[in-house]
Protein backbone atom coordinates (compact mmCIF):
# COMPACT_ATOMS: atom_id res chain seq x y z
CA UNK A 1 0.00 0.00 0.00
CA UNK A 2 0.94 3.64 -0.45
CA UNK A 3 0.58 6.81 1.60
CA UNK A 4 -0.02 10.29 0.27
CA UNK A 5 1.05 13.60 1.74
CA UNK A 6 -0.47 16.79 0.33
CA UNK A 7 0.93 20.20 1.21
CA UNK A 8 -1.42 22.91 -0.02
CA UNK A 9 0.62 26.10 0.22
CA UNK A 10 -0.07 29.60 -0.98
CA UNK A 11 2.18 29.34 -4.03
CA UNK A 12 2.38 25.61 -4.71
CA UNK A 13 0.59 22.39 -3.96
CA UNK A 14 3.06 19.59 -3.27
CA UNK A 15 2.26 15.89 -3.29
CA UNK A 16 4.49 13.04 -2.14
CA UNK A 17 3.63 9.36 -2.43
CA UNK A 18 5.56 6.88 -0.28
CA UNK A 19 5.52 3.13 0.11
CA UNK A 20 5.39 1.04 3.28
CA UNK A 21 9.14 1.53 3.80
CA UNK A 22 8.76 5.29 3.67
CA UNK A 23 10.63 5.59 0.38
CA UNK A 24 9.44 8.29 -2.01
CA UNK A 25 7.70 6.67 -4.98
CA UNK A 26 6.62 9.90 -6.68
CA UNK A 27 6.49 13.62 -5.99
CA UNK A 28 4.87 16.56 -7.72
CA UNK A 29 4.80 20.31 -7.27
CA UNK A 30 2.06 22.25 -9.06
CA UNK A 31 1.15 25.95 -8.79
CA UNK A 32 -1.76 26.50 -6.41
CA UNK A 33 -3.30 29.32 -8.42
CA UNK A 34 -6.68 30.73 -7.56
CA UNK A 35 -8.50 27.39 -7.40
CA UNK A 36 -6.80 25.28 -4.79
CA UNK A 37 -9.15 22.29 -5.10
CA UNK A 38 -8.06 21.90 -8.72
CA UNK A 39 -4.42 22.15 -7.64
CA UNK A 40 -4.97 19.32 -5.16
CA UNK A 41 -6.48 17.11 -7.86
CA UNK A 42 -3.68 17.92 -10.32
CA UNK A 43 -0.92 17.17 -7.81
CA UNK A 44 -2.64 13.95 -6.77
CA UNK A 45 -3.16 12.84 -10.38
CA UNK A 46 0.50 13.55 -11.19
CA UNK A 47 1.91 11.37 -8.44
CA UNK A 48 -0.55 8.55 -9.05
CA UNK A 49 0.26 8.62 -12.74
CA UNK A 50 4.01 8.74 -12.10
CA UNK A 51 3.72 5.76 -9.74
CA UNK A 52 1.42 3.93 -12.13
CA UNK A 53 -1.17 3.18 -9.48
CA UNK A 54 -4.84 3.99 -8.92
CA UNK A 55 -6.31 6.02 -6.09
CA UNK A 56 -7.50 2.81 -4.39
CA UNK A 57 -3.87 1.82 -3.76
CA UNK A 58 -3.48 4.80 -1.43
CA UNK A 59 -4.19 3.63 2.08
CA UNK A 60 -4.20 7.04 3.79
CA UNK A 61 -3.74 10.71 3.03
CA UNK A 62 -2.60 13.43 5.41
CA UNK A 63 -2.88 17.06 4.39
CA UNK A 64 -0.86 20.02 5.54
CA UNK A 65 -0.25 23.64 4.55
CA UNK A 66 -2.55 26.62 4.89
CA UNK A 67 -5.23 24.82 2.85
CA UNK A 68 -5.00 21.56 4.79
CA UNK A 69 -8.68 21.57 5.67
CA UNK A 70 -9.61 21.78 1.98
CA UNK A 71 -8.40 18.25 1.25
CA UNK A 72 -11.23 15.73 1.14
CA UNK A 73 -10.88 12.08 2.21
CA UNK A 74 -7.96 12.81 4.49
CA UNK A 75 -6.99 10.76 7.49
CA UNK A 76 -5.92 13.92 9.29
CA UNK A 77 -4.92 17.54 8.75
CA UNK A 78 -1.60 18.31 10.42
CA UNK A 79 0.22 21.64 10.59
CA UNK A 80 3.21 22.38 8.39
CA UNK A 81 5.38 22.67 11.49
CA UNK A 82 4.86 19.07 12.58
CA UNK A 83 5.05 17.80 8.98
CA UNK A 84 8.29 19.61 8.16
CA UNK A 85 9.89 18.25 11.34
CA UNK A 86 8.78 14.73 10.43
CA UNK A 87 9.91 15.12 6.83
CA UNK A 88 13.41 16.37 7.61
CA UNK A 89 13.88 13.59 10.17
CA UNK A 90 13.52 11.08 7.33
CA UNK A 91 16.07 12.80 5.11
CA UNK A 92 18.54 14.34 7.56
CA UNK A 93 18.00 12.74 10.93
CA UNK A 94 20.63 14.86 12.66
CA UNK A 95 18.82 18.16 11.97
CA UNK A 96 18.01 20.08 15.14
CA UNK A 97 17.02 23.42 13.65
CA UNK A 98 14.94 23.58 10.48
CA UNK A 99 14.33 26.83 8.62
CA UNK A 100 11.35 26.65 6.31
CA UNK A 101 10.64 29.59 4.04
CA UNK A 102 7.62 29.11 1.87
CA UNK A 103 5.41 31.28 -0.27
CA UNK A 104 3.92 33.46 2.40
CA UNK A 105 5.47 32.56 5.70
CA UNK A 106 8.71 31.53 7.27
CA UNK A 107 9.18 29.24 10.22
CA UNK A 108 12.01 28.04 12.37
CA UNK A 109 11.52 24.71 14.11
CA UNK A 110 13.69 23.22 16.85
CA UNK A 111 13.58 19.44 16.73
CA UNK A 112 14.70 16.83 19.24
CA UNK A 113 16.58 13.67 18.35
CA UNK A 114 13.30 11.79 17.84
CA UNK A 115 11.99 14.32 15.32
CA UNK A 116 9.58 15.88 17.79
CA UNK A 117 9.00 19.61 17.71
CA UNK A 118 10.52 21.23 20.79
CA UNK A 119 9.73 24.83 19.86
CA UNK A 120 8.94 26.92 16.83
CA UNK A 121 8.54 30.48 15.67
CA UNK A 122 6.75 31.94 12.69
CA UNK A 123 6.96 35.29 10.98
CA UNK A 124 4.24 37.82 11.62
CA UNK A 125 1.30 38.42 9.38
CA UNK A 126 3.17 40.09 6.52
CA UNK A 127 5.02 38.14 3.84
CA UNK A 128 8.34 39.98 4.16
CA UNK A 129 11.27 37.70 3.44
CA UNK A 130 9.19 34.89 1.95
CA UNK A 131 8.66 33.53 -1.55
CA UNK A 132 6.17 36.29 -2.32
CA UNK A 133 8.76 38.87 -1.32
CA UNK A 134 11.35 37.34 -3.65
CA UNK A 135 8.79 37.20 -6.47
CA UNK A 136 8.15 40.93 -6.10
CA UNK A 137 11.87 41.70 -6.04
CA UNK A 138 12.53 39.54 -9.13
CA UNK A 139 9.78 41.47 -10.89
CA UNK A 140 11.38 44.78 -9.90
CA UNK A 141 14.75 43.55 -11.18
CA UNK A 142 13.13 42.17 -14.34
CA UNK A 143 14.64 38.70 -13.90
CA UNK A 144 13.10 35.25 -13.46
CA UNK A 145 12.82 34.12 -9.85
CA UNK A 146 15.05 31.12 -10.63
CA UNK A 147 17.78 33.51 -11.88
CA UNK A 148 17.86 35.27 -8.51
CA UNK A 149 19.51 32.22 -7.01
CA UNK A 150 23.04 33.01 -8.17
CA UNK A 151 22.78 36.63 -9.21
CA UNK A 152 24.64 37.72 -6.09
CA UNK A 153 27.92 36.28 -7.36
CA UNK A 154 30.76 38.74 -7.38
CA UNK A 155 29.00 41.29 -5.17
CA UNK A 156 31.56 43.15 -3.05
CA UNK A 157 29.51 45.81 -1.27
CA UNK A 158 27.29 45.24 1.71
CA UNK A 159 24.18 47.09 0.62
CA UNK A 160 21.48 47.14 3.26
CA UNK A 161 17.82 47.38 2.41
CA UNK A 162 16.28 49.45 5.14
CA UNK A 163 12.74 48.17 4.72
CA UNK A 164 11.56 44.58 4.75
CA UNK A 165 8.01 45.56 3.84
CA UNK A 166 7.51 44.05 0.38
CA UNK A 167 6.00 47.24 -1.01
CA UNK A 168 8.65 49.59 0.38
CA UNK A 169 11.52 47.21 -0.39
CA UNK A 170 10.36 47.04 -4.00
CA UNK A 171 10.48 50.84 -4.30
CA UNK A 172 13.89 50.80 -2.61
CA UNK A 173 15.11 48.31 -5.20
CA UNK A 174 13.75 50.54 -7.97
CA UNK A 175 15.66 53.49 -6.45
CA UNK A 176 18.88 51.46 -6.33
CA UNK A 177 18.41 50.50 -9.99
CA UNK A 178 17.86 54.16 -10.81
CA UNK A 179 21.07 55.04 -8.96
CA UNK A 180 22.95 52.60 -11.18
CA UNK A 181 23.68 50.03 -8.47
CA UNK A 182 24.74 46.72 -9.97
CA UNK A 183 22.10 43.97 -9.91
CA UNK A 184 24.38 41.51 -8.09
CA UNK A 185 24.88 44.04 -5.28
CA UNK A 186 21.12 44.57 -4.96
CA UNK A 187 20.47 40.83 -4.93
CA UNK A 188 23.09 40.30 -2.26
CA UNK A 189 21.45 43.04 -0.21
CA UNK A 190 18.08 41.32 -0.59
CA UNK A 191 19.52 37.98 0.45
CA UNK A 192 21.17 39.51 3.50
CA UNK A 193 17.91 41.20 4.49
CA UNK A 194 16.02 37.91 4.33
CA UNK A 195 18.82 36.16 6.21
CA UNK A 196 18.95 38.68 9.03
CA UNK A 197 15.17 38.62 9.43
CA UNK A 198 15.20 34.82 9.49
CA UNK A 199 18.13 34.80 11.91
CA UNK A 200 16.03 36.70 14.45
CA UNK A 201 13.45 33.91 14.24
CA UNK A 202 16.23 31.36 14.74
CA UNK A 203 17.42 33.20 17.84
CA UNK A 204 13.91 33.06 19.27
CA UNK A 205 13.80 29.28 19.29
CA UNK A 206 17.51 28.59 19.64
CA UNK A 207 19.41 31.52 21.19
CA UNK A 208 22.68 29.65 20.90
CA UNK A 209 23.06 27.35 17.89
CA UNK A 210 26.06 25.77 19.56
CA UNK A 211 26.89 23.50 16.65
CA UNK A 212 23.32 22.34 16.12
CA UNK A 213 22.89 21.01 12.58
CA UNK A 214 20.74 23.49 10.63
CA UNK A 215 18.75 22.56 7.53
CA UNK A 216 16.46 24.50 5.26
CA UNK A 217 13.26 23.50 3.49
CA UNK A 218 10.54 25.25 1.49
CA UNK A 219 10.65 26.74 -1.98
CA UNK A 220 13.09 29.52 -1.02
CA UNK A 221 15.69 26.85 -0.17
CA UNK A 222 16.17 26.54 -3.95
CA UNK A 223 17.69 30.02 -3.83
CA UNK A 224 21.40 29.42 -3.26
CA UNK A 225 22.04 33.07 -2.51
CA UNK A 226 19.61 33.10 0.40
CA UNK A 227 21.06 29.84 1.75
CA UNK A 228 24.58 31.28 1.54
CA UNK A 229 23.50 34.51 3.26
CA UNK A 230 21.84 32.51 6.03
CA UNK A 231 25.02 30.53 6.57
CA UNK A 232 27.01 33.77 6.83
CA UNK A 233 24.60 35.43 9.25
CA UNK A 234 24.18 32.33 11.43
CA UNK A 235 27.86 31.41 11.08
CA UNK A 236 27.11 27.79 10.38
CA UNK A 237 26.51 25.45 7.48
CA UNK A 238 22.91 25.40 6.31
CA UNK A 239 22.19 22.15 4.49
CA UNK A 240 19.44 21.76 1.94
CA UNK A 241 17.93 18.32 1.27
CA UNK A 242 16.86 17.19 -2.18
CA UNK A 243 13.47 18.61 -3.14
CA UNK A 244 13.30 21.03 -0.23
CA UNK A 245 9.86 22.21 -1.33
CA UNK A 246 8.42 18.72 -0.82
CA UNK A 247 9.56 18.19 2.79
CA UNK A 248 6.17 19.16 4.24
CA UNK A 249 4.34 16.77 1.93
CA UNK A 250 6.87 14.02 2.71
CA UNK A 251 6.30 14.56 6.43
CA UNK A 252 2.55 14.40 5.86
CA UNK A 253 2.91 11.11 3.95
CA UNK A 254 5.06 9.65 6.73
CA UNK A 255 2.51 10.73 9.35
CA UNK A 256 -0.20 9.08 7.23
CA UNK A 257 1.82 5.85 7.31
CA UNK A 258 2.57 6.14 11.05
CA UNK A 259 -1.06 6.78 11.92
CA UNK A 260 -2.23 3.87 9.79
CA UNK A 261 -0.08 1.33 11.59
Amino acid sequence: MYYLGLDLGSLSCDAVLIDEQGDIVAAAVVPTGARNLEAIERAKAEVLSAAGIGADAVRATVSTGYGRDRVADRLAAVTEITCHARGILALRADTRVLIDIGGQDSKVIRIDSQGRVEDFAMNDKCAAGTGRFLEAMARALQVDIEQLSDLDHGAMQNITLSSMCTVFAESEVVSLIADGTAVNEIVKGLNRSIASRTASLVKRVCPDLNGYPVAMSGGVAHNNGVVRALGEVLQCEVTVPDRPDAIGALGAALIARDKSR
Partner: protein, 353 residues
Protein backbone atom coordinates in the same frame (compact mmCIF):
# COMPACT_ATOMS: atom_id res chain seq x y z
CA UNK B 1 -47.23 39.13 41.14
CA UNK B 2 -44.97 42.16 41.33
CA UNK B 3 -42.17 42.83 38.91
CA UNK B 4 -38.90 44.16 40.22
CA UNK B 5 -37.79 47.04 37.99
CA UNK B 6 -34.37 46.57 36.47
CA UNK B 7 -31.51 48.41 38.12
CA UNK B 8 -29.97 51.37 36.38
CA UNK B 9 -26.63 50.50 34.85
CA UNK B 10 -23.21 51.95 35.55
CA UNK B 11 -20.70 51.36 32.78
CA UNK B 12 -17.13 50.22 33.49
CA UNK B 13 -14.15 49.03 31.47
CA UNK B 14 -11.53 47.57 33.80
CA UNK B 15 -11.26 44.58 36.16
CA UNK B 16 -10.04 46.94 38.91
CA UNK B 17 -13.50 48.54 39.14
CA UNK B 18 -15.03 47.97 42.62
CA UNK B 19 -18.16 46.16 41.46
CA UNK B 20 -19.62 45.45 44.95
CA UNK B 21 -19.67 49.18 45.63
CA UNK B 22 -21.64 49.90 42.47
CA UNK B 23 -24.02 47.07 43.38
CA UNK B 24 -24.40 48.31 46.98
CA UNK B 25 -25.36 51.72 45.64
CA UNK B 26 -28.31 50.12 43.90
CA UNK B 27 -26.86 50.07 40.38
CA UNK B 28 -26.04 47.18 38.06
CA UNK B 29 -22.41 47.18 36.85
CA UNK B 30 -22.27 46.92 33.07
CA UNK B 31 -18.94 46.24 31.43
CA UNK B 32 -18.49 47.89 28.06
CA UNK B 33 -16.82 44.92 26.41
CA UNK B 34 -14.83 45.42 23.21
CA UNK B 35 -17.32 43.34 21.23
CA UNK B 36 -19.91 44.03 18.56
CA UNK B 37 -19.94 45.50 15.07
CA UNK B 38 -19.34 49.18 15.79
CA UNK B 39 -17.35 50.62 12.88
CA UNK B 40 -13.70 51.46 13.46
CA UNK B 41 -13.79 55.22 14.08
CA UNK B 42 -11.78 55.61 17.28
CA UNK B 43 -8.79 56.74 15.21
CA UNK B 44 -10.55 60.11 14.84
CA UNK B 45 -10.05 60.69 18.55
CA UNK B 46 -7.10 58.59 19.64
CA UNK B 47 -3.87 57.66 17.91
CA UNK B 48 -4.09 54.54 15.78
CA UNK B 49 -1.18 52.94 17.64
CA UNK B 50 -3.14 52.56 20.84
CA UNK B 51 -4.58 49.60 22.67
CA UNK B 52 -7.32 47.97 20.53
CA UNK B 53 -9.33 47.29 23.71
CA UNK B 54 -9.78 50.96 24.41
CA UNK B 55 -10.36 51.77 20.76
CA UNK B 56 -13.13 49.19 20.43
CA UNK B 57 -14.80 50.55 23.57
CA UNK B 58 -14.61 54.04 22.11
CA UNK B 59 -16.05 52.77 18.82
CA UNK B 60 -19.09 51.57 20.76
CA UNK B 61 -19.41 54.91 22.55
CA UNK B 62 -19.18 56.83 19.25
CA UNK B 63 -22.11 54.99 17.65
CA UNK B 64 -24.00 54.71 20.95
CA UNK B 65 -23.84 50.92 20.94
CA UNK B 66 -24.53 51.02 24.68
CA UNK B 67 -27.49 50.50 26.96
CA UNK B 68 -28.81 53.49 28.91
CA UNK B 69 -26.15 54.25 31.51
CA UNK B 70 -26.69 56.20 34.72
CA UNK B 71 -22.95 56.87 34.73
CA UNK B 72 -19.59 55.63 33.59
CA UNK B 73 -16.64 54.64 35.79
CA UNK B 74 -13.22 54.55 34.14
CA UNK B 75 -10.30 53.38 36.24
CA UNK B 76 -7.05 55.17 35.52
CA UNK B 77 -5.33 51.81 35.30
CA UNK B 78 -3.06 52.64 32.37
CA UNK B 79 -2.34 55.62 30.20
CA UNK B 80 -4.66 54.40 27.45
CA UNK B 81 -7.58 54.11 29.86
CA UNK B 82 -6.82 57.66 30.93
CA UNK B 83 -7.02 58.76 27.30
CA UNK B 84 -10.30 56.87 26.98
CA UNK B 85 -11.76 59.02 29.74
CA UNK B 86 -10.67 62.18 27.89
CA UNK B 87 -12.13 61.00 24.59
CA UNK B 88 -15.33 59.78 26.24
CA UNK B 89 -15.98 63.22 27.68
CA UNK B 90 -15.47 64.81 24.27
CA UNK B 91 -17.70 62.34 22.45
CA UNK B 92 -20.43 62.08 25.09
CA UNK B 93 -20.28 65.34 27.03
CA UNK B 94 -23.64 64.72 28.68
CA UNK B 95 -22.58 61.41 30.26
CA UNK B 96 -21.69 61.34 33.94
CA UNK B 97 -18.14 60.09 34.11
CA UNK B 98 -16.02 59.23 37.12
CA UNK B 99 -12.28 58.79 36.65
CA UNK B 100 -10.93 56.66 39.45
CA UNK B 101 -7.25 56.66 40.29
CA UNK B 102 -5.49 53.35 40.83
CA UNK B 103 -1.98 53.20 42.30
CA UNK B 104 0.60 51.29 40.30
CA UNK B 105 2.27 49.48 43.17
CA UNK B 106 0.72 46.80 45.34
CA UNK B 107 1.50 47.96 48.88
CA UNK B 108 -0.32 49.12 52.00
CA UNK B 109 -0.31 52.83 51.19
CA UNK B 110 -1.83 51.99 47.79
CA UNK B 111 -4.64 50.17 49.58
CA UNK B 112 -5.21 53.22 51.79
CA UNK B 113 -5.27 55.52 48.77
CA UNK B 114 -7.64 53.31 46.79
CA UNK B 115 -9.94 53.16 49.83
CA UNK B 116 -10.29 56.94 49.67
CA UNK B 117 -10.89 56.73 45.92
CA UNK B 118 -13.76 54.35 46.58
CA UNK B 119 -15.23 56.72 49.12
CA UNK B 120 -15.04 59.41 46.47
CA UNK B 121 -16.82 57.06 44.03
CA UNK B 122 -19.49 56.34 46.65
CA UNK B 123 -20.19 60.08 46.87
CA UNK B 124 -20.42 60.33 43.08
CA UNK B 125 -22.81 57.38 42.97
CA UNK B 126 -25.00 59.17 45.54
CA UNK B 127 -24.99 62.23 43.28
CA UNK B 128 -26.03 60.00 40.39
CA UNK B 129 -29.16 58.92 42.24
CA UNK B 130 -28.07 56.06 44.49
CA UNK B 131 -30.37 55.33 47.39
CA UNK B 132 -28.72 55.84 50.76
CA UNK B 133 -26.48 52.88 51.49
CA UNK B 134 -24.16 51.90 54.31
CA UNK B 135 -21.61 49.29 55.27
CA UNK B 136 -24.26 46.57 55.56
CA UNK B 137 -25.29 47.15 51.94
CA UNK B 138 -21.68 47.05 50.88
CA UNK B 139 -21.13 43.81 52.79
CA UNK B 140 -24.19 42.35 51.07
CA UNK B 141 -22.75 43.42 47.69
CA UNK B 142 -19.46 41.76 48.58
CA UNK B 143 -21.28 38.56 49.59
CA UNK B 144 -23.03 38.26 46.21
CA UNK B 145 -19.81 39.13 44.41
CA UNK B 146 -17.98 36.45 46.42
CA UNK B 147 -20.69 33.90 45.58
CA UNK B 148 -20.06 34.52 41.89
CA UNK B 149 -16.29 34.40 42.41
CA UNK B 150 -16.64 31.10 44.29
CA UNK B 151 -18.79 29.53 41.56
CA UNK B 152 -16.30 30.59 38.89
CA UNK B 153 -13.51 29.04 40.96
CA UNK B 154 -15.49 25.81 41.34
CA UNK B 155 -16.06 25.76 37.58
CA UNK B 156 -12.34 26.24 36.90
CA UNK B 157 -11.35 23.56 39.39
CA UNK B 158 -13.70 21.10 37.75
CA UNK B 159 -12.49 22.02 34.29
CA UNK B 160 -9.03 20.90 35.40
CA UNK B 161 -10.20 17.29 35.18
CA UNK B 162 -13.44 17.38 33.20
CA UNK B 163 -13.80 18.20 29.55
CA UNK B 164 -17.18 18.91 28.01
CA UNK B 165 -17.61 20.17 24.46
CA UNK B 166 -16.99 23.91 24.16
CA UNK B 167 -16.46 24.31 27.90
CA UNK B 168 -14.14 27.27 27.34
CA UNK B 169 -16.68 28.97 25.11
CA UNK B 170 -19.38 28.54 27.70
CA UNK B 171 -17.19 29.74 30.55
CA UNK B 172 -16.30 32.86 28.58
CA UNK B 173 -19.97 33.48 27.84
CA UNK B 174 -20.58 33.28 31.59
CA UNK B 175 -17.73 35.72 32.29
CA UNK B 176 -19.30 38.11 29.78
CA UNK B 177 -22.73 37.63 31.33
CA UNK B 178 -21.38 38.25 34.82
CA UNK B 179 -19.87 41.50 33.58
CA UNK B 180 -22.95 42.77 31.80
CA UNK B 181 -26.12 41.16 33.16
CA UNK B 182 -27.81 41.31 36.56
CA UNK B 183 -25.95 39.16 39.05
CA UNK B 184 -28.94 36.99 39.96
CA UNK B 185 -29.07 35.73 36.35
CA UNK B 186 -25.35 35.01 36.45
CA UNK B 187 -25.67 33.06 39.68
CA UNK B 188 -28.38 30.81 38.25
CA UNK B 189 -26.55 30.11 34.99
CA UNK B 190 -23.21 29.66 36.69
CA UNK B 191 -24.61 27.22 39.23
CA UNK B 192 -26.15 25.17 36.40
CA UNK B 193 -22.76 25.06 34.63
CA UNK B 194 -20.97 23.95 37.80
CA UNK B 195 -23.59 21.23 38.38
CA UNK B 196 -23.20 20.01 34.80
CA UNK B 197 -19.44 19.83 35.24
CA UNK B 198 -19.87 17.93 38.51
CA UNK B 199 -21.98 15.34 36.71
CA UNK B 200 -19.39 14.92 33.94
CA UNK B 201 -16.94 12.03 34.28
CA UNK B 202 -13.26 12.97 34.15
CA UNK B 203 -11.82 12.99 30.64
CA UNK B 204 -8.55 14.03 29.05
CA UNK B 205 -9.05 14.02 25.26
CA UNK B 206 -7.77 17.51 24.69
CA UNK B 207 -4.57 19.17 25.82
CA UNK B 208 -5.02 21.17 29.04
CA UNK B 209 -3.89 24.74 28.48
CA UNK B 210 -3.66 27.74 30.81
CA UNK B 211 -4.44 31.02 29.07
CA UNK B 212 -3.19 34.43 30.14
CA UNK B 213 -3.08 37.94 28.79
CA UNK B 214 -5.03 41.14 28.89
CA UNK B 215 -8.33 41.14 27.01
CA UNK B 216 -9.97 38.28 25.12
CA UNK B 217 -13.76 38.35 25.55
CA UNK B 218 -14.90 36.87 22.24
CA UNK B 219 -16.28 33.33 22.74
CA UNK B 220 -15.34 32.60 19.11
CA UNK B 221 -11.69 32.88 20.09
CA UNK B 222 -12.25 30.14 22.66
CA UNK B 223 -14.04 28.08 20.04
CA UNK B 224 -10.96 28.29 17.82
CA UNK B 225 -8.74 27.24 20.72
CA UNK B 226 -10.93 24.24 21.45
CA UNK B 227 -11.23 23.25 17.79
CA UNK B 228 -7.44 23.31 17.67
CA UNK B 229 -7.35 20.67 20.40
CA UNK B 230 -6.87 22.90 23.46
CA UNK B 231 -8.88 22.54 26.64
CA UNK B 232 -8.68 25.82 28.55
CA UNK B 233 -8.43 24.75 32.18
CA UNK B 234 -8.19 28.26 33.55
CA UNK B 235 -7.14 31.74 32.65
CA UNK B 236 -5.58 34.92 33.86
CA UNK B 237 -7.39 37.51 31.75
CA UNK B 238 -8.94 40.89 32.45
CA UNK B 239 -12.10 39.65 30.73
CA UNK B 240 -11.87 36.31 32.53
CA UNK B 241 -10.91 35.22 36.02
CA UNK B 242 -9.45 38.55 37.13
CA UNK B 243 -12.84 40.28 37.28
CA UNK B 244 -14.24 38.11 40.07
CA UNK B 245 -11.79 37.27 42.83
CA UNK B 246 -12.84 36.64 46.46
CA UNK B 247 -12.83 39.61 48.82
CA UNK B 248 -11.92 38.82 52.43
CA UNK B 249 -13.85 41.07 54.81
CA UNK B 250 -12.72 39.42 58.07
CA UNK B 251 -9.42 41.19 58.65
CA UNK B 252 -10.29 44.52 57.04
CA UNK B 253 -10.98 47.74 58.92
CA UNK B 254 -14.03 48.44 56.73
CA UNK B 255 -15.76 46.96 53.69
CA UNK B 256 -14.10 49.68 51.60
CA UNK B 257 -10.71 48.64 52.89
CA UNK B 258 -11.54 44.99 52.20
CA UNK B 259 -12.31 45.72 48.54
CA UNK B 260 -9.22 47.89 48.18
CA UNK B 261 -7.00 45.21 49.75
CA UNK B 262 -8.44 42.55 47.44
CA UNK B 263 -7.60 44.69 44.40
CA UNK B 264 -3.91 44.50 45.27
CA UNK B 265 -3.74 40.90 46.42
CA UNK B 266 -5.63 39.33 43.52
CA UNK B 267 -3.67 38.04 40.50
CA UNK B 268 -2.31 41.26 39.03
CA UNK B 269 -2.73 42.81 35.63
CA UNK B 270 0.65 43.69 34.13
CA UNK B 271 -0.03 47.35 34.98
CA UNK B 272 0.29 46.58 38.73
CA UNK B 273 3.77 46.16 40.13
CA UNK B 274 4.67 44.55 43.43
CA UNK B 275 7.91 46.13 44.67
CA UNK B 276 8.40 43.34 47.20
CA UNK B 277 7.96 40.64 44.55
CA UNK B 278 8.88 41.99 41.11
CA UNK B 279 8.30 38.56 39.55
CA UNK B 280 4.87 38.14 41.16
CA UNK B 281 2.93 38.17 37.89
CA UNK B 282 5.14 35.49 36.33
CA UNK B 283 5.21 33.39 39.50
CA UNK B 284 1.47 33.62 39.81
CA UNK B 285 0.92 32.47 36.22
CA UNK B 286 3.22 29.50 36.67
CA UNK B 287 1.66 28.51 40.01
CA UNK B 288 -1.81 28.61 38.57
CA UNK B 289 -0.86 26.79 35.37
CA UNK B 290 0.59 24.02 37.52
CA UNK B 291 -2.36 24.07 39.94
CA UNK B 292 -4.79 23.49 37.08
CA UNK B 293 -2.52 20.78 35.63
CA UNK B 294 -1.92 22.59 32.37
CA UNK B 295 0.49 21.00 29.91
CA UNK B 296 1.22 24.33 28.29
CA UNK B 297 0.51 28.04 28.50
CA UNK B 298 -0.83 30.32 25.79
CA UNK B 299 -0.34 34.05 26.23
CA UNK B 300 -2.62 36.35 24.24
CA UNK B 301 -1.84 40.03 24.44
CA UNK B 302 -3.17 42.97 22.53
CA UNK B 303 -0.91 45.06 20.37
CA UNK B 304 0.46 48.24 21.91
CA UNK B 305 -0.06 47.06 25.50
CA UNK B 306 3.16 48.36 27.00
CA UNK B 307 2.63 46.90 30.51
CA UNK B 308 2.41 43.38 29.09
CA UNK B 309 5.26 43.93 26.65
CA UNK B 310 7.40 44.88 29.63
CA UNK B 311 6.45 41.79 31.64
CA UNK B 312 6.66 39.17 28.90
CA UNK B 313 10.43 38.54 29.11
CA UNK B 314 10.13 37.69 32.80
CA UNK B 315 7.13 35.45 32.15
CA UNK B 316 9.01 33.67 29.36
CA UNK B 317 12.02 33.17 31.58
CA UNK B 318 9.99 31.88 34.53
CA UNK B 319 8.02 29.39 32.43
CA UNK B 320 11.14 28.26 30.59
CA UNK B 321 12.92 27.57 33.89
CA UNK B 322 9.98 25.42 34.94
CA UNK B 323 9.94 23.71 31.51
CA UNK B 324 6.38 24.87 30.95
CA UNK B 325 5.85 25.25 27.17
CA UNK B 326 4.64 28.69 26.15
CA UNK B 327 3.05 30.07 23.00
CA UNK B 328 2.76 33.84 22.70
CA UNK B 329 0.16 35.36 20.42
CA UNK B 330 -0.53 38.99 19.69
CA UNK B 331 -3.81 40.33 18.35
CA UNK B 332 -5.94 43.39 17.88
CA UNK B 333 -9.44 42.08 18.63
CA UNK B 334 -10.44 42.40 14.98
CA UNK B 335 -12.46 39.52 13.55
CA UNK B 336 -10.18 36.95 12.03
CA UNK B 337 -7.07 37.87 14.01
CA UNK B 338 -7.31 34.69 16.01
CA UNK B 339 -8.00 32.75 12.80
CA UNK B 340 -4.64 33.91 11.48
CA UNK B 341 -3.08 32.41 14.58
CA UNK B 342 -4.67 29.03 13.95
CA UNK B 343 -1.57 27.30 12.58
CA UNK B 344 0.48 28.44 15.59
CA UNK B 345 -2.15 27.19 18.04
CA UNK B 346 -2.60 23.85 16.27
CA UNK B 347 1.17 23.33 15.99
CA UNK B 348 1.59 24.13 19.68
CA UNK B 349 -1.08 21.57 20.58
CA UNK B 350 0.51 18.99 18.25
CA UNK B 351 3.83 19.68 19.97
CA UNK B 352 2.31 18.95 23.38
CA UNK B 353 0.49 15.76 22.40
Amino acid sequence: MTTVPPLSKIGFTCAYTPLPLIRAAGFAPYRVLPLGDAPDQAGQWLHDNLCPHVKRILDRAIVDDLPALAGMVIVNSCDTMRRLADAWQRIRPDDRLFLMDLPTTAEERAVAYFTTEMERLAAALSDWGAAAFGDDDLLAGIRTYNEIASLFEQARNRLATRQIPMAGVRLQELYNQAATLPWNETLTNLQAFVDELAATPPSHDKVPIFLFGNVLPDPQAFQLLEESGAHIVSDDLCTGSRLFHPIDTQAAASPYHAIAAAMFTKPPCARTFDPQRPARLAENLLDRAQHYRAQGVIGYTLKFCDPYLARLPMIQQKLQQARMPLLLLEGDLSPGTMGQQRTRIEAFIEMLR
